[in-house]
Symmetry: C2
Subunit: 197 residues, 2 copies
């Protein structure tokens, strides 16, 4: 490994945000999945939670569909699988994470309202069905990106990015990219994994 490469890895890990994540509930199109991982990498999300589509369509990460479109983001963002969205939500909440479901309901608020400097996971729904009512109810809050057009919903990777860059904005002004957020042990371990794959 060149010194430049090592420095890049350390610089990136110094900005990773272990308290920011996404939970993808059966997102099944590879180009959406990849675009979301790429955005995760850009804002410093280190772990993306995912419930694989029931149809079993989520391609394996080595497949060419991912390689072609993720810009290799799957190498830099860990994907943690879960069996179902509701239990994943409860598991995250037990760790002190607020889960915000992208879902239209009585209690939905504009996505710019929540405090994303708190430990936060953004729950994203499947292209066809969105977030289930059960998962949205289990979540700590429901958020929505205001839409003023004829079409009912955004592309899921577009919605993910819109919310994650609001989180980035808030975390930038809170100085959360100025000092490492990863625990020193985790930072050293990931640096080793990335440096010597």
């Amino acid at each position: 490994m060149t010194p430049e490469r090592y420095q890049k890895i350390m610089r990136v890990l110094g900005k990773r945000q272990p308290t920011l994540s996404v939970l993808m509930d059966e997102v099944n199109k590879p180009h959406n999945f990849s675009a979301i991982l790429r955005t995760c990498d850009a804002v410093g999300v280190q772990t993306a939670h995912a419930v694989p589509p029931k149809s079993g369509e989520m391609p394996s990460f080595g497949s060419s569909a991912y390689e072609a479109t993720s810009g290799s983001a799957h190498k830099w963002v860990r994907v943690q699988p879960h069996t179902d969205a509701v239990s994943a939500v409860r598991e995250l909440q037990a760790q002190g994470v607020q889960v915000l479901a992208t879902h239209l309901s009585q209690r939905s608020v504009d996505y710019r309202t929540p405090d994303y400097t708190r430990p936060t996971c953004v729950l994203l729904g499947a292209e066809k069905w969105g977030v289930s009512d059960a998962a949205a109810e289990a979540a700590d809050g429901n958020i929505i990106i205001p839409m003023f057009g004829m079409v009912q919903s955004l592309n899921v990777s577009v919605a993910a990015a819109t919310i994650l860059f609001e989180a980035q904005r808030q975390r930038l002004s809170a100085g959360m990219y100025d000092t490492p957020q990863l625990a020193p042990d985790d930072l050293a371990r990931i640096a080793f994994e990335w440096g010597y794959p």
Copy 2:
């Protein structure tokens, strides 16, 4: 047409933003093109400018690739073709529009810096090549979305949405969605086209 449908059309046209647009320079993947149109519809962009890919790969709008993924946004956002990016930039500038190229250069600024309440067009580049240096130089400004990860660039539809929802945020607080921005004649004409296709 039902009264509900008519009211929806009038409500949407009342929020259209004729002074906000995008210019896609050879964006060639249908799912990206469609996701961008869908975001345009959501923030009120009425005209999306596009330079078709030289490879001639941009599918016609009736094709199933578009129908499947755009949520029919191509019906509600007009696509205006141009022969090349530089002349499109100059044409827009002659109409008093500031063109902001998504491009990394000496003069790039954070995408949150510009004033999007001014007449603005966001120039987006091709998946493979990005915005050409010539088009970026012709533009009034260069903007960039800050990235803190290992991967070099975002998906183009993700970048488009991140910027357009910042424009939406600024225009919301400036009250630009509270009163119709379309000229009364244009509003009436489009209402007729949408109501009786």
